[in-house]
Symmetry: C3
């Protein structure tokens, strides 16, 4: 069995972490699949998706701070849109996460949330969720 779902998020800053765990959970529940996997896929090249802590909002803030230190805007960049720093972050964090589905729900660790990570906002973005299993 397999099911494909889609939802949108709206970022408000250039760099922003948005918790989409609830949306992904709903897609898994809607699929009716009990045991399998769930692929969360971002069809953009200046945004990504990651898992990280959900309890303290300072974690996302700190990770974002360091990502901007790792991938600053540089005068050497040639890409004319001027957002190469965002393209670098996308390849570092990655465009998808593959999660485990069990008992009809996501199997996440106690502190894990699914974060959409905007690197070139504000924009309206699309997120795809593919659930596969039985």
């Amino acid at each position: 069995m397999t099911e494909l779902n889609e939802f949108s998020v709206r970022s408000r800053g250039r760099n922003e972490w948005i918790d989409v765990t609830g949306d992904v959970r709903r897609a898994v529940a809607d699929s009716g699949i009990k045991e399998g996997i769930c692929v969360v896929f971002v069809p953009h090249t200046t945004a990504a998706v990651t898992l990280n802590e959900n309890a303290d909002p300072d974690v996302g803030r700190d990770v974002n701070l360091q990502l901007s230190a790792i991938s600053p805007d540089r005068p050497e960049f040639r890409h004319s849109e001027g957002n190469s720093d965002a393209h670098v972050k996308t390849s570092l964090v990655g465009p998808s996460v593959t999660l485990i589905v069990s008992g009809g729900d996501l199997l996440l660790g106690t502190w894990q949330a699914v974060w959409f990570t905007e690197f070139d906002g504000p924009r309206t973005r699309k997120i795809l969720v593919r659930v596969l299993g039985e």
Copy 2:
């Protein structure tokens, strides 16, 4: 067909690479699945999983050294647990790898091993393995 497996590892240092290839191979063999995929998932937010060389232990040591250069502890961090450097590394390396299963075994390159990467040890950690296929 799909099967879910779980095992534990015990890290001894703050930053440590532990080779879990054998444990993942056993989970694939136990599943009885011959052709498909295998998702290795770390349900923690200060540890990750990656593939890298298995022959020379200096590779893991060198990668760890550079990860700490890329993501140092910084006075600007606000997360009160004081381990934001580990949360950054987790989002850079990633919480899961998706492997190919063929002939009832992992299909890895000659030099590839599956490494659990601890960034905030020592701790006892859980690793989940989902095998999916036929």
Copy 3:
């Protein structure tokens, strides 16, 4: 249903991005699978695979430039082959991407391409494609 495919690429520089979207698309079409996922897997430890922009070749050039700034060759490295910088990049970018298959084709964003990223070329490299679904 599941299908496994393989193809080769030949890199010409030490660091190089090669667009393999067409090869991956062919593997999906050949599989006959209409709805599911596609895992693109690099069985090497000094090369990786990522999604990023396909329109302006300067994006790959800029990302590569920054990856080399993030992971330079360092005198502190001990791995005797002298390519630890490439092993670091491999764990940062990652050995696989998991894509969504729908309507018998890859479901990619408008600007997304699948890039094989060489970090220790020139070499002939293998890429595996596992398609799973129905």
